[in-house]
Each structure stands twice: as structure tokens, then as C-alpha cells.
Amino acid sequence: MAEFEPQIIAFTCNWCTYAAADLAGTSRIHYPANVRIVRVMCSGMVNPMYVFKAFESGADGVIVAGCNYTDCHYIDGPVKCDAMFARLKKMVHVLGLEEERLRREMISTSEGVIFARVVEEMVEQLKKLGPSPFKIKMETLA
Amino acid sequence: MNGQNGHKSVLVIGGGIAGIQASLDLANMGFKVYLVEKSPSIGGRMAQLDKTFPTNDCAMCILAPRMIEANSHSNIDLYTYSEVEDVSGEVSDFKVKIKRNSPFVDWSKCTGCGLCEEGCPVILPKEFDQGLGKRKAIFIPFPQAVPKKYTVDKREERPCKAACMDACPAHTNVLGYIKLIAEGEFQEAYKLIRDTNPLPASVGRVCYAPCEEACNRGQIDEPMAIRDLKRFAADQVNIEELEVPTVTKTDKKVAIVGSGPAGLAAANDLALKGHDVTIFEALPESGGMLRVGIPEYRLPKEILRKEIGYIQKLGVEIRTGVQVGKDIALEEIRGNYDALFIAAGAHGGMRLRMEGEELPGVIEGIRFLRAVNLGEKVEVGKKTAVIGGGNTAVDCARTAKRLGAEEVKIVYRRSRSEMPASAEETAAVEEEGIPIEFLTTPTRFFPGNGKLARMECVKMKLGEPDASGRPRPIPIEGSEFTTSVDTVIAALGQAPETEFVKEFGVSLSKRGMIEIDPETGATNIEGVFAGGDVVTGPAFVIDAIAAGKRAAHSIDRHLKGEPIEVKEEGKEPEKLSEEEVEDRKKRFPSQKRVRLRDEPIGERIKDFREVSLGYTVEEAIEEASRCLAGQIEGCIECHECAKRCEANAIAYTMQDEHIEIDVGAIILATGLDLYDVSPLTEYGYGKIKNVVTAIEFERLTAASGPTFGELKRPSDGKIPHAIAFIQCVGSRDFKHKAYCSSVCCMHATKEAILAYEHHPGTKSTIFYMDLRAVGKRFQEYVTRAKEEYNVTYIRSRPGRVAVNPENQNPIVWYEDTTTTETKNMEVDLVVLCQAMTPRGSKELAEMLGIELNEYGFVEVPDKLSHPVDSTRPGIFACGYVHSPRDIPDSVTQGSGAAARAAEVIAGGS
């Protein structure tokens, strides 16, 4: 049986983290191919529903990443994102999902290296956790 | 009587148009008909209608001749206010038991004059007007009722003994006026009181209220505030604007000596009988003790003046300042008048008979009050003592206080429990800071500077009871003491002054009072009567009024040349038994009486303003609603009707009557009931004032209706210019009645036309599902409504009626099914065309052994060949109880049922 390869969805903001991921690529920094990037205009516009949809669609982990507090193109996007993320974590917690499957990051344009490291770390963690419980079909329930 | 007669007669149940038609057809064929109707009159639903469609004929104009014919037809026995109790036997030989409910009126005597109704204090919703109008507990259902006989709507036994009325010397209809106050009919309450008491406003202030002591409610919690309610009723009326009845004059003249309550009461009654009355009054003002004996703060003179003014308007002449025996001789009066009534009262004061009595500063109580009341200048000293323990003493003390005396006290020789003044008055005097020195009596008065300066008193103790039943006060030797005093008012009691009648030959008692026959008021001289304090010594106002009325009754009979007979009067007031008290306590929750409010003490002692403030409207209604008699529905047996009925037709003890008849066939024609639309809460009926049912609308347009034919909407009496009619309210509805009621499309059209005819320009909208204009000239009628009467038809069933809180306009929500848009329409009035149901068919079907369909209509097995035959041979049905139908169809069917019944009793099948 092949080794479990987790699938990660990363919501990245157009202005910082997406650029950082881009920089990682152009800098030929190696990082696992388990991540699928969804570019959003701002981390502040990420809605809990996006995250749930990701899990619903089979993601094993989700990263929400955007600018630092001082860099935001829209001034207070990261603050909004924090508030959303706090609520999201509570919901996800009640649902019984491991906290490690969700990551909130602030990665600026120049931090391609950090982006690569975050992805690496998360893949490792998810490999330990195994597949998302939502992947398992209801039929197997008691 | 199982013979030929039974074979040849028919029972018709239900006196509506279908039943009347069937009865008349059969009667004209020569058969005997028993027409049984549950209500007191025949006429049924048609009588309630204003017009009939599609001809717009006046419903009553067509119906009334038929009703009269049915009543007078020699072959028809009409049993109204009756019910079929039992039916046995079979076709050609039915035995029927009929219960004739007691109307408590002997219909053979009743002339339908309506006098009884005027006096009845019990107001009930009028069934004929669907409760929009009111009727009395004694009533005829509607003006054109057939038979035109009155019925007493007596439903329950009165929970009290009406002890108040028996306790009242004048037998005032207390039950009645309290009921009227509870109903908010204050004018009527006043009129009813005035029938037995010409001075309601005065008596309502000063009466000692023996009724309250007797009141049966007092056995449960607290007695009714009967006197205060009387005052309330009187205060609601502007006496000066009261109508004066026209009376036929008799040319007889009566003279009355004294214008006190006895004289006024007699004058009032005699004037109403048409006699000319002249009152001779010695004082410059009329009213007797009410005027000069009772202080202003208890009875404002203005009120008394108005009440006397009304009696004067009845034609009574009052000559004030004429003292009989001095200014004019009694002989002379006797010669000029046909009868004489002496009611001179008791205005003489009693003397102290002790040393110093003649000193300036010692005043006789009654003279003191008279002077004050007549506006004379009366001065009281700083320190005033009032001697005595009666109401007069209390009045003197309170008056002295108001005149500015700094220290006022009452000196009374016995103790508190023996004081003749009422507890109320005693409490009030003490509240106003006037102490009462008990067990003390003055012995002499000492002068100083030529007038009263000091008073010597002695302390008393109570001994054995004396002739009056009270303990005799005995002076304690050596307990004498003196106090300084400026004024002494001696209020020891009054006595009549009867010198002037002595020479005239009227016999007097030892104590100087006129002797009369207490039941008629007659003296030893023919044509001379007497009553009031001059006969009894000082007594109460209501006693004097009763005496005056009693004498007036006797005088009237005397003048008519009839023997003077004793008027039948009440019995001793009865108490509720212990069991009854327990029962009443369970049935009616305890409720304390509503206290009357007084002017604040500090304010009121500064002047002579009236102390008691009287009830507000809310307080009066609350208090009046406590009356035990008013707790029941229907007749409360106050006997006002019996008092008024000239035909002597009222029969409270009448029993229900049960009769048995034999008939060959039975026709069921009980008609329709109106379906209760209140469960259809979406239309707001009962909640929104301007939502009415079609039958109510019909009553609002009818000349005999509650608005006398003026179409006005209920909330504010405004003319409705925009009306919405909603069809199928309860009909064609799976959740209510799934069938079509058959007549609503057409009667709504008719009502819309009527609205236009009442107020041209009125815009009516009829919300319909399918327009059912199935009948001769019906479609043309609808077309005319659209073209000539501004009627719009919208195909939609509204689902909600809201209300505009500002103007109480209903707002109809509906989906315009042609545009699929949900809209709303604000109108002035909404008319709900409610479903109609067969009337009383369930109980009757069981009794008759016939089948009904699922909605209660009579089941007709062979609809084509025998369309009026029920499931049982010999029993037929016509009208709405058969199936939903309009008036012409009902009439046709009535004839059809009559023909089938005739066929059966003629020997067919």
C-alpha cells in the first residue's frame, strides 16, 4: 500500500502569501506537492464555509494564510481573518476534527522560504494524523 | 283520540316562510294544521331580511300578510314559543307531544301595548338584530311579530331575596336601577328611580338606607352601596332638561300643606294623575327639612331646587311664605279644594328647661340650622358646645365648625353605642376634629357681660333601660364641673306644630301628632289626609316620601269617587338561609364594595362644599355589578312589568304546558342557522369592529333594525362608502362546511345594491370564487349591479383582514388571481357572507327517526320522484333544512311538501 499522501488546500492572499508561494517557486525552493493553492484577494474574506467546503471535498488539511497586520492592502484584513479563524476553530473543534488540520499563517511577499517550511511541516503532521475523518463514508458508521 | 281527526291533520315544525306556506296550503285544502315554532313569533329568517333578490321587494311587506293569515286561519293552530318533545306512531297516525314554554305572560290578556317593556331594567342582545340591537327581558322579537304577545325571558332563579325593595319604605325598584347602572344605562336608571321617588338626587345623598341593611349581599360580603348608586344615577342626569310627560287633566284640585318630602311626593304623584296641586309653604323656601334642616355640605340646595323645579314643571304650584292658620285658614283651603293633604313636618324645637336657657348665645338646634340654610347671618362664638346625640346635633356641630367656631364639641348624656346619629355621621364629625363628650349633660348656664359665658355640666352613668329601650342616664352626684363657652346649640329633637289643625277638627294624638289610618293616610275628616313627620314625629326622608305617595294613591281614588283601598305593598325583607349563603359564596366571588371618596378634611371644613364626591362612572359600574340579582341572565323578577301592566297579564308563576296531538303527517321546516365564523380568525370577526356578517349587514340596512335603516358602520357610526363582501366564509371549505350555501353570491349582490341605494356612489367589491347566479333573472341582476350600482367582482378568496388602527378601516388582503399579485384594499366595512347550516335538525331527526346527510340536511332518498320525502314515510322536509336554497325555492318546496302531506292524509302513500 502506497504511503498516505495528504491533500492540503491553502487559501492565500493575493498580495502577500500568494506572492510568497510564487517566490518559492521562482526561487526553486523545494516543497511538497500536496498543497493546492486557492488565491483569494484577502485573508479577511475567507469564510468558514470555504474551509468546510474544502473538508467536504476531501481535503485533509487547510491553511489560511495572508499578510502581516502591517502589510495588508485592505488595512484590517488580517484582523478579520483572525476573528473568523477563532470562530472557525471552535466549530471545527466541536465537530471533532484535529486542530492540526487547520493552520492560520501570516507570510509576507518575501517569505517564500517560510511558505515552503509551513507546507512541509503540515504534510508531516498530516501524515501522522492520517486521512481526514470526513473522507470516510457514512456507510462504515455503526 | 286516535281517530279521524288525527288522520286529517298535519304537524308543521318551523314557522319560517316555508313552514307558513306549507301550513296555509294545507289549511286551505281543509286540513287541520298544527304549526309549532320555537321562538315567540313566526316569520323565521325572512323576517330579518331587508329586501329579497332579484326583485328587491321588501321582505316584511311580502311576509307579514302571510304571517297574519297563518295566525288567523281557522284551520291552523299556532303554537309559538313551543317545541316538539316526542313523536311516536307512524304515517297517518303520529302522536306528538308539544311543550309550550311558559312566556310568564297570560297571552289571552296581553294586548301587546309595550308598557311593560318600557319599565324593564334588564337589557339583553336582540336576537332579531343579531345582537346589534338591544331588547328587554320582557319582549316581542320584532315590531311585526305574530302573535304580538310579550314573553318574559326568564332563565334562572334570582340568587337573592330582593330584600332591599321590601326594606325600602317607598319600595323603590332597587334591583332594576342597579341593573341599569351596571349596564351603563344611567338615564334609564334615573327614570326608574323617579317612578317611586320624586327626589332621587336628594334622597341619594341623605337617605338612611334601610335597604342596605337588608341587602342580601351583606350576608355574603358587604351590602351594596345602594344609596350612593342612586346618587350616581341622579348625578348623571340634567334634571332641568328632563322631558315633562303630557298628562290629561282631571279638573280636580288638591291642596297640600307643607313642601317637604311628603308634600312633594304627594304633589308629584297627584300631578302625574292629572290633578291640579297647590302647595302652601310657611317658609320662604320650599323643600321642608331637606331645605332648612340638612346642611348644604350634605345636600347642596341647588340640587334640591332642581328636583323641586321639575315637580313644579309637572304643574304643581308652590306658594311659599304662606303659613296656614295665620296667613290663610285651613277652612278656606278646604272649601276651595277637592282634597287636602297635611304634611307640615316637625319644625318645633325642644327646650332644655334649665337655668340660663334664655341667655343670648343659647340657640335651639333646628332653628340654628334653619337660619344658616336660609342664608341668615348667624354668628357662633369661639367655643361652641352642641347638646344632643342625634343627626341634628352632628349637623349643628359640623355647621358651627364651618361657620368659624374654633372649638366645637358635642355633649351627649349617654355613651357612643346609644347615639342615635348614624355611625357614618359620627365618624365624619370626629374626623373633622369635633370631640364628643359622652355621659355628660349640662345643668345650667351662667352669664357674663350679658350673654352666655359658662356652662355647668354633670357626669352621668348608665342605669336600667327606659321606655325607649336605652339605658337611662343617671347623674353622678358631686361630679358637676363648669367650662367656659360662648355658644350652646341645643339639638334635643323636634316636634310637629299642630295648633293650626286643632280647631279644624282633625284628631290629634296625646303627643300632639295627627292621627291617621296608617295604611291610607286618611284622617278622621273625609277628604283630609296627612303624612310625614306631622304624623310620625321626626323621622326619615324616605319614610315621608312613602307616606306622601301612599296618601296620593288614596287621594286619587277618593277624587275618582272610588273607595279608598290599601295599595298592595311589599312583604318583610327576607334573609338568605344559611345554605343559600354558602351556595352563593361558592357561586360568586367575594368582592368588597366600592368606597365613596370624600373631599379632603382640611379643605372641606373651610366652607359648605359637598363632602362626598360621588362615584365615577367606572366605580359606579363596578359597584353596581356586584348586585346578586344582576349575576343571572334574563329576568331578575323585579316585578316592574307587573306594576305597569294595565291588563294584569304578567304571570310569574305560569308553568310550561305539555299537550298531545294526533297527526297524519309531519313537515319539517326548521330553516337555517348561521355558521359561527369566529373560528375563521383570519377575517377578524369579533375582533375588528367593522367586520360584520351578511345578516348583520341586512339588519343595518333594514328600517326595523338597530339603526332604523340608516346604514352606518359599527365602530364610529360613519357611512361606509367602500364595502368589501367576502364570499364563501365557511362554505366550500373542507375545514368548515364543504358545501355551497347557495344564496351568498346573490344576497351579497343584493346587499351591495342596497348599500348603493342607501348612499349612491358607494363602491362595493365582491370577492368571489365562482359566481353562482343560478336562477331566473339572477344573471341580469348581477349585470345590473356591475353597470348601475358600482359593484366590482374580483375572483379571489381573501385570506386575511387586518385593521388600520387610525380609522378602524379593515384592510382586505387578497391575491388578484388574474395578475397573480398579492394586494390589499382598505375599505370602510367588510361583510362576511357566512355559511348557513340546517337548523336544529339533529335533535329533531332523532325524535322523528329520519336520516340526515353528513352536514345535517334531511336525507332525501328519492331525489327525482319524491324530492321532499324523508327516509321515513309521512315525514317531509322543505326549506333550508332540506338543502341550501333561496326564498322562492323554499316557498315552492313548502307547497310541494304540503301537497305530499295532503296526499298521505288523503289516503295516498
Binding site: M49, F52, H93 | F734, R800, T817, T822
Partner: protein, 382 residues
């Protein structure tokens, strides 16, 4: 099931097209283009696309107002429920409020053998529960709503806590199950029968294995679903009851000792508890039994009660908002200090209306909101 079957099952063929439903419908009153009658007419005409691809299909509040008054006895709410199954099959859905978060959560719950952490709120206080109890208190989605509606602020767990407290003071130590899931109400009414079935089966199994004889609900939607819908899909061998019914029953049999709470209140009948299940008296009896409580009725009450404006967190639009404002104004007109309801969702929606008043100054609709159980818990004391 096709359109023809739906027509047969819901007796839409009885429709006389009178339009009474439209004039009663709270949505139609604000959205003149929405007509239940037209929806039924289209069905009868066989115009399936007009129904399936009509966004308004998801506007119906399934509040039962029309159902109770339809003269032809058409079961319109059931018709809507079934028609939405057709729409869902065609890939249609309504406009989800809160971006569909709540729908996603329900769907995730239907999917996996997850071990939820739904009972953490229980740890913090001295509530008494028992794993061996005969009685279960169904908590429903409250633990999820808590973070979702944090900002309104709507505290659904307060209602759960109060319910537990009330049961405790009645001497009941209920089972609160860590593995119950969404009852499936919204999924069923949104046409997602698959999700509903999975949730129903799961809950039925959980209840069966726990061996309880009675399940108490504080949410009328869960209650309605268990009482009326589950029997069509799963076997449930236990009694179900709304907490207001239990309280009313206790009042009758043993009486309850309430402390005085001085307050003038009015009561919002939740559609599910009222029109769906006919329970109007129980909550009122409870309210009236509390000394000091003066209950005043709104203009529209009991059967006539107006819905809180949204169902299933779908098609929550300006019309929903208008309905809420209308209802809150009615509540205020009574002069009551507090609007009591016994449905967490009614409360959520009213709170939302009061918070999201928008920039322009609308009418004053502020009123204190409270669930019946919270009031009872306060009054029953410690």
C-alpha cells in the same frame, strides 16, 4: 417520486385556485411576485421547470399558515418539501445564509464517524446528567450555533444549560449524549433527503443503544422532526416531548414552585411548535404559572402567529427582514418588556434583525428576547 406523485400525495388537485394561501402568506405580503397558488397551478399544469428552476421555491417558510387555512385542504408545505427534492436532484438550491456554513456542518456530520466534542459546556457547572437515565435531553445544533452567532449575540448553549437546569430541578438527571447529531430538519426541508436519512438513522441508533424511553427537546424543529418525520424513515421506540409540554404536565400533576419574576411578557409561537404540532397552551400555561409574569398577547397569536421570517437558513432576504420587523413591532406594541419564545431559531432571527438594522434609522424594534426555559430556570431558582 415525480411531480405527479407529489400532486397525488399532497392533494394539490383539490386546489380551486382561490388565492387564499397567497393572501395569508407572510412572504407574499412583502413579495407580491411570490404566490403559492401559482406554484400549485404550475404543478397542476405540469410545468415542472417552472417549479424546479424557480428560486422562489426555496422562499417558502413552511410556516403552515396557508396549510391551516386552505379551504381545499391542500398540504402546501409538504408539496414544497417534495418539490425541493426534485429541485435538489436537478442541482438547484436556495440562497444559503451565512454562506452555507450551517448546511456544510450538517453535511459533514452526516458523513463521518467523527468523535464530536459537543459536551464541553457541560463540564463547567454542576449539572447532573446520567448515562443510565431513561430520559435524554436532545441538544441538537446548539454547540455549533454558539460560535456561528457569536456576534449577534445569540447564546444557544444558554438555552441548553437552562433546559438541563430545569430538568435537574424537576428531579430528572437526563442522558446528554456525546454522539447525537443534527436532527436533519433543514436537510429534509431543503430537499436533501439523503443527508436527512443518514442523520435520522444515526440518531435513531444512538437513542436505541442508549435505551432511553423519553427524549426531551428544547428546539421545536428537532422535536417536530423526531415526532412527525422520523417515523416515516426510521423506527423510534421512545416518547418524544417538548420541554414546555413536560413543564405543563408537571404543573398539572404535581405543581411547580416558582419564585416571583416581575415582568410583562409576550409570547412568539414558533411555527413548528404551534401550527405544525398544535402546541399553543403548554408554554402559556407555564408562563402564567410563574407569579409576577403578566402575559400579553400580540395582535397575531397562536394559529395566527407570524413566522420569524426564515427557515433552514435559506433565502433570508429583505422580505424576511420585513417580516421580522413587523413581528417585533407587534411585540413592542403589546407594551411587554420581554419577547419570550421557545425556539432558539426564532430568537436567533429576531436578534439578527435587531443587530443588522442597517445604516438608516428604521423603526425601534429593540426588545429583550428570552427563551421560555431561561425564564423558567430563573424562576425555579437555584
Amino acid at each position: 417520486m415525480n411531480l405527479e406523485d407529489i400532486i397525488q400525495e399532497t392533494k394539490t388537485y383539490y386546489c380551486l385556485e382561490c388565492g387564499k394561501c397567497s393572501s395569508l402568506c407572510p412572504i407574499s405580503r412583502y413579495d407580491p411576485q411570490y404566490s403559492p397558488r401559482v406554484m400549485v397551478e404550475n404543478a397542476l399544469l405540469g410545468l415542472e421547470d417552472e417549479i424546479v428552476y424557480n428560486k422562489k421555491l426555496f422562499s417558502c417558510l413552511t410556516c403552515y399558515t396557508c396549510q391551516l387555512k386552505c379551504p381545499s385542504d391542500v398540504d402546501y408545505p409538504l408539496f414544497i418539501q417534495k418539490a425541493r427534492v426534485l429541485a435538489t436532484a436537478a442541482g438547484q438550491h436556495g440562497d444559503y445564509a451565512h454562506s452555507g456554513t450551517l448546511q456544510s456542518i450538517a453535511m459533514l456530520m452526516a458523513r463521518s464517524p467523527l468523535k464530536q466534542n459537543r459536551l464541553e459546556w457541560l463540564k463547567k457547572d454542576g449539572y447532573r446528567t446520567s448515562e443510565k437515565s431513561d430520559v435524554m435531553l436532545f441538544i441538537g445544533c446548539s454547540p455549533y450555533f454558539e460560535p456561528v452567532f457569536e456576534d449577534i449575540p445569540m447564546r444557544t448553549l444558554n438555552i441548553a444549560e437552562a433546559s438541563l437546569k430545569v430538568l435537574n430541578s424537576l428531579g430528572i438527571e437526563p442522558l446528554v449524549h456525546p454522539d447525537e447529531r443534527c436532527c436533519g430538519h433543514d436537510a429534509l426541508w431543503m430537499g436533501d433527503v439523503e443527508t436527512f436519512k443518514k442523520l435520522a438513522e444515526h440518531n435513531a441508533t444512538v437513542i436505541k443503544e442508549s435505551g432511553v424511553k423519553k427524549v426531551i427537546f428544547f428546539c421545536p424543529e428537532c422535536y417536530r422532526t423526531f415526532k412527525l418525520d422520523y417515523p416515516n424513515y426510521v423506527k423510534l421506540d421512545c416518547e418524544v416531548m417538548h420541554i414546555s409540554e413536560l413543564l405543563a404536565q408537571r404543573l398539572e400533576t404535581e405543581g411547580l414552585r416558582f419564585n416571583e419574576v416581575k415582568r410583562k411578557v409576550t409570547y412568539q409561537d414558533p411555527c413548528r411548535l404551534g401550527r405544525h404540532l398544535g402546541i399553543y397552551d403548554a408554554p402559556r400555561k407555564v408562563l402564567q404559572a410563574i407569579p409576577g409574569i403578566e402575559l400579553v398577547e400580540m395582535e397575531h397569536n397562536r394559529e395566527e402567529s407570524i413566522c420569524c421570517g426564515t427557515s433552514c437558513f435559506t433565502n433570508c432576504d429583505s422580505y424576511s427582514k420585513q417580516i421580522r420587523v413587523e413581528r417585533l413591532l407587534e411585540a413592542k406594541a403589546t407594551g411587554a418588556e420581554t419577547l419570550i419564545t421557545s425556539c432558539p431559531k426564532c430568537q436567533t432571527h429576531f436578534r439578527c434583525a435587531m443587530v443588522n438594522k442597517g445604516e438608516e434609522k428604521g423603526p425601534d424594534i429593540e426588545i429583550e428576547l428570552m427563551d421560555l426555559v431561561n425564564l423558567v430556570a430563573t424562576s425555579l431558582g437555584g
